[in-house]
Amino acid sequence: MRRVLAFGMAVAVGVVLITTVSLTMLPFGSFPARQIGETPANSIGQQILEDAPQQTGAANVVTSVVWGHRGYDTLGEATVLLTAVVGVVMVFRALRRRE
């Protein structure tokens, strides 16, 4: 009984997802349409591509996004790496002490 109920729930969720995506979302294949203004030329990606070299002074647009537009995010990335290193060193030091 519970298995049938779970299966029915999964099918219901799948039907809801598929109908929502296919009816109200964008048609498949029109990917860069997430625009702020009315036209694709006003989309946020296009604006960053045009303005980034003048705003940040870096010729590499990826760099100007990574450190110029969202520096907090990249600081978080560096913190993730620090946490990973601390975790690995901690685990292996504990292993060594136990032997």
């Binding site: 870096a58 010729a59 590499n60 907090y72 990249t74 560096a78 790496l81 690995v88 060594r96």
Partner: protein, 144 residues
Amino acid sequence: MAGMTVIVRTIARLLFPFTFLFGAYIILHGHLTPGGGFPGGVIIAASVVMLVLAYGIERAQTKVGFLHAEVLESIGGLVIAILGLFGILLGVAFLENVFPLGELGQLFSGGALPLLYLGVGIKVAAGIILIFYAMLLAFRGEKK
């Protein structure tokens, strides 16, 4: 962990400066060409790992020790944080670019971006070396 044969040692010794230089180039030109602090740091770490594999952990530790890597990683994080605090000291947001931008496409351009990438490069290189050392040193006692 002992070293390898003399062929591997010679090749590793000859390749090390070029690999290191390539990593430094990737880091320093991060604001001009594809690349940056993360891949450049990994390349520098790979050059040191190559030396460790060829010469053995004991001889490599006399050049780049465990403590060196720990201190260098902290210095890299500190560089990023201090460069971010410059923005607050001058009255704008944290990590905002307050240095002169310079001419587009030159090596000395982009304000704080090359310095930030330098900090990230040092941090990533030291971090990967540290992970490698920790894994090697944990199992050193068993092999002997």
